[in-house]
Symmetry: C2
Subunit: 464 residues, 2 copies
């Protein structure tokens, strides 16, 4: 039937955005922002259709990138046995949600996707996989929803497990962060890299006792939010480090650079005494050589102040931050990750290790930015993909409207019809405008007699 | 660069399945089925990459259908305030998962997507929406995983909220079930329809006391699993119904038909005495007239034994079952739904009602069937979409391989490279075969000198 071809061929039907033409339209989205009567759990949110459209766009960008790099995907349950999560997150374990004991097993909601991934690898004896996983995780943190911090939030993880030559998978993870943040077009960003071995070596040569490495590391991790004076104060007065050791650390953590810094530090009289630091620094050089080939060194900085909180990292670590134009202050981390060669072994009865490196994109912040952008722009986000509305100007044509709609649906065309016996033409056209439907097929007695259908573009009222 | 065009133009790159050519390949999927060392929570499952590929295919079919019918999508949190779920599910409420009280609000995991949807509408004062929602729900039921019954499982819901002319949205929901089950190609199916008003009218004229309607309804609901004798026994001996009333019910619930049955029952001496039943029967006639226009009456049966357990239904109810070839025994429900005009009002402080009708596709059973099909067939399911593998036959070409891979990635082509300095050509080709990568770009000293790349199809070893 010709209308099917007409609609299918129309260039409108894949458009994502369309210009606002009338503001009087009753807009679902606006309703959604009114006072809330029933309440949601603290720190959680609904996604309305407009927010979902943005979310879908962000996910598509991220998933395309993961697929471009050859990743498979897996899924794991939202809850795990409590013991699976125990002892993996250090001080943050207090933020884990537990389920009520209703008889049976003790369960907890997943805190991240990395530990379930390691459990999955061990359980299925997988030693080689490149996988992505996009799912919600749960943390009983203080919510700060305007800043994109929720108790339920998405993580988009990409990980490479397997025994490979050093730094090649690690470099690919950074390439992926670079691609995704560039494509999402969120403005300037920077990817800081460091290595746990360099940190540990640095702590050792600065005179930090071995049993304080992790806790001092947690304090260093606060440098993106606190001044050096406050960090030093916490080290010395709360964690009992000598002032001299703290000052030594202070010198190192102020350093930033690229491959040249790694080379310089390999010559550093003190740091070069640590075998661990040297191994990390050599790998850092190697990493930068691959990053050059991948053409991403413009955004990557070797930054000795980067520490990252989680316990399970064993090698390279990294974190991407958005940097506001004209400022060097970071406005928040949007991706992070690193190498964790020991985690899978924690789940294996024979402690067999599977080396892993991965990255997690934290997209709630990205959503916030995209939503603000969408609101600020004159573009209206479509929340459906309907190509054509089947309408009529006259009464008693419900059956004919439904028949034509059926034909369109059966031909795979996205079509809508009003669920009223005798809707007004104006309200049918209004619905098209509100939801951005580009075409309207108008039925009338005369057209039915002639066996034709008028197809109009909604925006111009012109016949196609 | 020409290789980019070559790969991009290759007809292979969107293929989903490919023939198994070598069985010796170490297959991830097989590993996944080995004995499990770490355990998962009871009634939950991981999805391995092969299962995810099948899941993605099923979701795409379902989402395309929902979008074809003009639905927007929303998302809600995995947990709700406990009070939101209280009093909505009747006897099934005992199956709700509660979270541990860790200070703060009392939370429960969502039991379905319908109650959160109603809460969302009330909270945002939405009176008109057509939305779909695909997400996991949680029930502390006895798991029967081989039959596709899990404690964590997906629901794919499509609902139409709003005040419209009778039976048009209801008929569209059935059209959607018909489209999805046809497209998923799961074999024969049947969609049973009934109406809560017809059931209630039937109970009234059969002499069931009004306060026993819901509990007798629950017993009738078991007719798909139990014989009439057992159902009658439960009514009489457990629920205290008179034998006479039970026998009367027995006569009605054996009836099946189409519009003709609705017409006949409108003339039924007893049933026509119930105003409620008559309203339901008239609407059933109207429904069938729309189903005829939608061309779906071949699969739809008006079945007076269909009851459905949930409390919130107020009008039309339906359930789709797969019917094995040659048998009339149903092998399980794969979709269900109905009209629930009172649920949104339960969340509104002024009890404003928003009429709703919807359908939920329960896809775990669908996954099981599709997975069995995939295993039985000679087709291997691809778990990545990689178009080309960048390989080399000679040593010391890592940098060149990474450079070419970077070019491909930057051009948007899905490409892989082995993370080894000097991988064997055979192991690179083996990887292509294992994961169905159609093309391989082979670098060698001579090609580098000549500034060209050999592009071969993996299956035939021929140059492209």
């Amino acid at each position: 039937m010709s209308i099917i071809k007409l609609v299918a061929n129309s260039s409108f039907y894949m458009q994502y955005n369309y210009q606002i033409r009338e503001d009087k339209s009753k807009n679902l989205i606006e309703c959604c922002q009114e006072t809330q009567l029933m309440s949601l759990c603290q720190g959680t949110r609904d996604y309305n259709p407009k927010q979902m459209a943005i979310r879908e766009k962000v996910f598509n960008t991220i998933i395309s990138c993961f697929k471009r790099h050859g990743a498979e995907t897996i899924d794991t349950p939202v809850f795990e046995l409590k013991e699976t999560l125990t002892g993996k997150y250090g001080e943050d374990s207090k933020l884990i949600y537990d389920l009520k004991d209703q008889g049976g097993e003790l369960l907890s909601l997943r805190y991240d996707l990395t530990v379930p991934f390691a459990r999955y690898l061990a359980m299925n004896k997988i030693t080689n996989i490149k996988r992505y996983h996009i799912a919600k995780v749960y943390r009983r943190d203080n919510p700060a929803m305007t800043r994109g911090r929720y108790r339920e939030f998405y993580q988009c993880d990409f990980d490479i497990a397997g025994q490979y030559d050093p730094m090649i998978p690690d470099a690919e993870c950074l390439k992926i962060v670079h691609e995704i943040l560039s494509e999402l077009d969120l403005g300037e960003f920077r990817i800081k890299v460091n290595d746990r071995r360099i940190l540990d070596g640095m702590f050792a040569v600065c005179g930090v006792p071995a049993d304080k490495f992790r806790t001092i590391c947690s304090t260093v991790d606060k440098l993106d939010k606190m001044s050096w004076e406050d960090v030093k104060n916490e080290m010395v007065n709360e964690k009992g480090l000598s002032e001299e050791a703290a000052d030594h650390i202070g010198e190192y953590v102020s350093l930033q650079g690229g491959m040249d810094l790694a080379e310089r530090l390999l010559q550093d009289q003190k740091l070069s005494q640590s075998k661990e630091a040297c191994a990390g620094l050599s790998d850092m050089k190697l990493l930068f050589s691959y990053l050059q080939i991948f053409q991403v060194t413009d955004k990557v900085v070797f930054d000795l102040s980067l520490a990252r909180g989680l316990d399970y990292y064993t090698g390279i670590i990294y974190e991407a931050v958005l940097t506001q134009v004209g400022e060097t202050v970071s406005v928040g981390s949007v991706a992070g990750g690193g190498r964790y060669d020991g985690l899978v072994g924690m789940f294996d009865p024979k402690s067999r290790k599977v080396p892993c490196v991965g990255v997690s994109i934290g997209i709630e912040r990205v959503f916030s930015i995209m939503e603000q952008k969408a609101e600020a722009s004159a573009e209206k986000v479509r929340t459906t993909e309907v190509q054509v509305m089947v309408a009529s100007a006259q009464k008693n044509l419900l059956e004919e409207r439904l028949k034509l709609t059926t034909e369109l649906w059966n031909a795979g065309i996205k079509a809508e019809v009003m669920y009223k016996k005798n809707p007004k033409l104006l309200s049918q056209l209004q619905h098209c405008e509100d939801s951005g439907i580009p075409l309207v097929a108008i039925l009338g007695e005369q057209e039915l007699k002639d066996g034709v259908v008028k197809l109009r573009t909604v925006a111009t009222r012109e016949e196609v």
